[in-house]
Amino acid sequence: MYQYDQYDHAFMANRVDQYRGQVSRRLAGDLSEDQFKPLRLMNGLYLQLHAYMLRVAIPYGTLSSGQMRKLAEISRTYDRGYGHFTTRQNIQFNWIKLEQSPDILAELASVEMHAIQTSGNTIRNTTSDPFAGAVAGEIDDPRVWCEIIRQWSTLHPEFSFLPRKFKIAVTGSEDDRAAIKVHDIGLALRRNEAGEIGFEVLVGGGLGRTPMIGKTIREFVSQRDLLSYLEAILRTYNLIGRRDNKYKARIKIMVHELGIDEVRRQVDAEWEHLRDGALVLPEEEIARIRAFFAAPAFETIETPVRSYEVARFEDQDFARWTKTNVAAHRQPGYGIAVISLKPTGGVPGDATAEQMEKVAELAERYSLGEIRVTHTQNLVLPHVRLSDMHSLWQGLSDAGLGTANIGLISDIIACPGLDYCALANTRSIPVAQRIQQRVDNIDRQHDLRELSVKISGCINACGHHHIGNIGILGVDRRGEEYYQITIGGRADENARLGDVIGPAVSYDEVPAAVERLLDAYVAERKDDETFIGTYERVGLKPFKEAVYVTD
């Protein structure tokens, strides 16, 4: 993974000093809250329901054991001993004190981490496929490009006061595990006819109040031209994106209102001035960054790996875990291990300091010291020898991290909701817990197959409910918690927004409503169909009737 050089370190030190100065000025009253707020947001510090919340960037979801240990230490020293992994591959601490935040940033800088631009009307964390560099069939490692974009977008002087936040995601595989179609800019690595590697560029995707699927603005942009093309898009957005209405300020609205053809025309016109200019990255720099993401020295391992197969045969619980939590690795004899942060009754995406340390230790021992964060609020150890998989699983299970539910119904995505977030209408976490309790039988979960449930506590959709097979959106009805349910959403390369099934149901009614959706699925499904497959075949009617049955 990327390592800072002297320039990166110098930058980070200056940045922390600058922020320290800003905090001092605020505490002394030299800056008003209005003046200070965008500055603290540019360093990821929100004022939330209970306290300040710090969102630490985990660039493209990749971190080392050492970095994970530091996060554990920070959670202990400055917070309440736990952290929350988010749907944009970042981590949040909920109980931060403003006066300590400069020290926290200094601690983060010591392990090459930061909270820059994790908030504010800036270019945010560029996210990617958590399996990047480990999965077979990638055209190129998307993280190389995420790092290039990260540096280009860091403290970009022209784009620090955009109409609204800006989110970019990059995928390198045919299977889109980065949800690029619901990002402001989505980049898919592609090969052109000449066999050159470049990018298909999509714009205007996003969730929230007006969810939209991104549209292709350019079929192919070469590696050489990537940054100048991104600059052309950002400049166009900066100049003509709406600034009159906060809820209409994202680029998706600009694309919707002008049409993709007009946006393309304007971006191309701007690009004419920028391409072949100062943003053409020297080959050496691309090579320098690429070197950080070179494949590790994998061992040559004969397959099948006997000890792994034996362990699966002898230990049913382990076997079940490998079914859902181990994905195929590009290197024979290795596997990608997914760590579930969704135990029944737990808090989706949360990990205690002890659990973080355990993950760090296991990563060191079994995964070459590397960890990933998914945007389904789970963790990944990307390079595990199959012969180590059983020991790994035992280590995880000891720490409450061995839940075998990746992709199953209990692998719920839930935003922090009204329990933590000042923007929320309703709670999400207890809704997730109650659904999990309803389907607690693991055999039943396997029978239900892949099924994504995503819960957002408000229209801002941080829980990505629009792209859940079952989406649950909290709404406020006369001070009571109500939930609108959608079905049929998808996050992958066939991304689709869910359809509302009917009137919102109360907090108490949600688990039963979900239960009825599951019953309808089981009744209607054919062969190996998943929930989404059945929905796409039979449509809304059977599901709607199951939930809103008139007695």
Binding site: F161, P163, R243, H273
Partner: protein, 171 residues
Amino acid sequence: MSLIRNGVVIDDPWIRLDDDTPATPGTRAIVSLKRWKAEKPRLIETLAGTGVLLKSNEAAEEIAGDLSVLEVVAVDFPAFTDGRSYSTARILRERYRYLGEVRAVGDVLRDQYGFMVRCGVDAFELADDVDSADWVKAVNEIPTAYQPAADGRSPLFRIRTDTPQDAWLAY
């Protein structure tokens, strides 16, 4: 109100002329784009120096052909959250090679001086008195540039690879 230009606090040699006030001969005045478009020849003839104020929704393209007679272009930040003029300043410098004064006016905060300088702004009209030393300090808080902009500073990727500066960059 104070004016700081290239790090030095100076008396402002320019006056801001609204759309209705007649132009006094021999003065140097900044006018709105609207007035500039309506009265260009007369202003050039009457005034000792001409400048234009671009609102944040007014494009640099509108005055691209006039830059040789404009000694100053003021770019407005009506609210510090309105970031359009950063782009306008860069376009003036990089696309049109404008060498006159680019002046930031409006809601300009100390923590933005650095961004503005990088976008090609060289003068700042500020609501309060400013200390020159503090201004310089604020501008230089982050000396590292990760990306090229209008200030001619080499972006890190060039420093790292020791690639010579491209000749076409302004400044």
